[in-house]
Structure formats: C-alpha cells, structure tokens
Symmetry: C3
Subunit: 160 residues, 3 copies
C-alpha cells in the first residue's frame, strides 16, 4: 500500500518578484521531496500568471485600468525592497544569471513540469477583471474553499 | 462522541486593507467549514480593530502621535500596492461593491457572527499606547503565549 | 521515554525591523514553551544577521553594491510602515525602551541563549554576495531542502 504523500500549500498574495521567487523555490523544493504542492494565487499574486502579451477581451473601464496599471506577467514584477524604479530587478536578474540561478519564468516552468498545482483565485479574477484568456495555460481555478480543502491536509502552509 | 474541530489561526501583522481582507476571507471560509478560527492582531494589524471615532483616553505624547498617524479602523486602511494616495482603496471598494463582494467592515462583522475569535495583542497595545476603549467590542486580549496555545493545535497557521 | 518536542519554523524573508521583531517574539515564545524552533533567514531577512562593522572580504562590484545598499545588521533595519526616513524606527525604539520591551538585538541574543536554530540561506548568500565572515556567529547554513526538512515535522510554520 502506497504511503500518503505530504502536502504543502502556499498562498501567493504578493505581486513582488522576490516574494514570487521565494514561493516557487519553496514549492519546487517541496515537489522535489515528493510533496503534493499547491500555490494559490490571489490578489496581486495573480499578476505572476498573466501572459506578457496584450490579450483583447471585453471588460469595463475600471477593470481595463487595473489591467494597465498592474504588471503583465512574471517578467514585469518589481521588488518588495530596493526596487529603485526598476533598477533593482535588473541587478537581481543579473546576479542570478551570473550564479546560474533559475529566473522566475524558469522557476514557474519547473514547477509546472514537477506537477505543482497552480490555482488562480476566481474571486480576485472577478474583482480585478482578469479573464482566463489573459492568464498562462495549465492553471486550475478555485475560490477560498478550494484552497482550504488542500491546506487542511497539508503540514506546511505558508502565506507569502 | 463529538469529533474534535479543526483549528485555523492567522496572525494579522499587516495594517493594509488588502491583506486584512485576505485574512478575513480565509478566516470566514474556515469558519464556514466549521473550523475554530483565531485571528491574532499584532503590530499594524491592530489598526483594523480601532473604532473610527476619536476616543478620549489619557496617554503620553508619543502614544498620542502614534494614535494620530495610524489609520483609525478598517475603513481607513490603505493598500499594500497601488495605494496612490488613497485612490487605490477607492477603486478597489468601487469594484468590490459592483461585484457584490463584502467590504472589510462587513467581513469583520461576518467573522464575529461566525464566532471567529478576534484577539488583540496586548504587547502591541502597550507599546503603541492603544487602550481597550479605543478598540471595537467583542475582542479577547492576549500575548504571544495565547497565540501559540492556539497555533500548536491548528493545521493551518498563517502570518499575514 | 521522553516525549517528542513540538517544532516551530519561521522563514524570515523580510528585512524590516518590525517584522524581524515579530519573528523573534514568536520564536522566543515557542522556545519558552519548549518547542524546537528554527528561523530560516532568506533574501532581505539575511540583513538581520549582518555584523554591524565593515568586514573586508573579496567580492565583485555588484555584490559590493548590494552590501553597501542593504542595512548592516539588526540595529540598522527600517520599518515596514511609517519608516519616515528613519524617524519611525527611532520612535519605536524609544517606546520599546520606555515599556521595558526587549530590543531586536536583545531578542536575537535571547533566541540564541534559548537554543533557537538560526539558519542562513546559502542560496541568498551566494546571490547577494554575503560571506560567512560578514554574518554574526553561531549560525547554521542551509538551503531550501534544509528548511523543508524542519518544516515538515513542525506544526507551526510561518513565512514572515
């Protein structure tokens, strides 16, 4: 009889590059340990999952405004500290490359390859007017009940 | 014999409206799942619980200064991102109303109706000079030992 | 036969004084309850552990730039809110002293006395160019696998 897998869940609330990287590094580590891992993307965290091209969908002017003001995908996120109008992320990306660390888009790809479940918060999508066509492929969609269903069976539950 | 209830705890450290909303949405979801839920309000998170009217209490000048500088209650909190000197919160409140989402004050009311335990951190109150008369009704008061007593029995423990 | 100890882990990602204080207050509380406690310092959180004097080590210009821009140790950290170009931390330190609360350096000392395990994230050290000589004594060094090894046995796991 197979042993039940450990579970790990992460709520990614933040839309900062450094925090998203921390979330994916922990998620990929846990997946490498054979945990069932879920990242639940809510509020600004959802921007991590936006496609980087402009997708034409019907939406109200306020939802359009949010769409324009928020970063369009993982490559566009700023830093929570020392952002320095975009110079900070460039410096961080430079040292990461130098040290052969995976970039955020590569960390996301690895997570998908390892079967990390990426869940977009439907309440946030509704509120900020983000539609499925605007987000990357391979996501699941759920609300807080879906998140709690995973979290209650997990040993490691983080809010980032 | 009754089954023991699942427990969920949240430390709300942040004084941002969006993070407070995330805390209460998760708390209310867990309470609807019949968890025993505690939110422990510490540092800036305590501002969520301030009454919105001015309460006259005796305090030192530094404590008074903190009182004036910090937001007075859930309606006055700013956003962690895109605050734009108060325009961000107005936009968010507008889209929330449009989508029939509960506002933060309504989320707090629902939490109290559902029996979510709201605990004010006594150490923070002491440090920032906040007194019980300045906070909303129906709270419990405890320090870090009280929080840990709940957290150690809980499966989902988040720091927001 | 001795009962197995409860475990508590905290990831300290943030480099803010108030968040570092929250982390150490919870860690010291859990240690006083006889938990095995680990704080894993990653990203900006690592600045908490820098020595406050300048340590001469060989490093590239970008790593040197990070070294100069980031706060040099627990006494130099800013606040996540109301930093007001350094006036906020001064005010907080003043009220803490008035209320006989432990300062951050004292909280760190207490944690070390109580046997809280302080772990520096080696990936962050590599990326930001921080070397062991630049960090305080008595640390352990590990990557995400080391953190997960502790977290999976712990009941309380927080990301701060």
């Amino acid at each position: 009889m197979g042993q039940k897998k450990e579970k790990t869940t992460i709520v990614l609330f933040s839309g900062d590059m450094d925090k998203a990287m921390a979330a994916f590094i922990i998620a990929n580590g846990a997946a490498a340990y054979d945990h069932e891992v879920t990242i639940f993307f809510t509020f600004w965290g959802l921007n991590t999952l936006r496609k980087d091209e402009i997708v034409h969908v019907q939406k109200g002017w306020l939802e359009k405004a949010f769409g324009w003001m928020m970063p369009r995908g993982a490559k566009k996120l700023g830093l929570s500290k020392m952002n320095m109008m975009g110079m900070g992320p460039k410096m961080i990306k430079h040292v990461m490359k130098k040290h052969n660390a995976l970039s955020l888009p590569q960390l996301i790809e690895l997570a998908q390859e390892q079967g990390v479940k990426l869940v977009a918060c439907t309440m946030t999508m509704d509120m900020l007017g983000l539609q499925q066509e605007e987000l990357v492929d391979g996501l699941e969609y759920a609300g807080v009940a879906g998140y709690l269903g995973d979290a209650v069976d997990a040993k490691v539950n983080l809010f980032i």
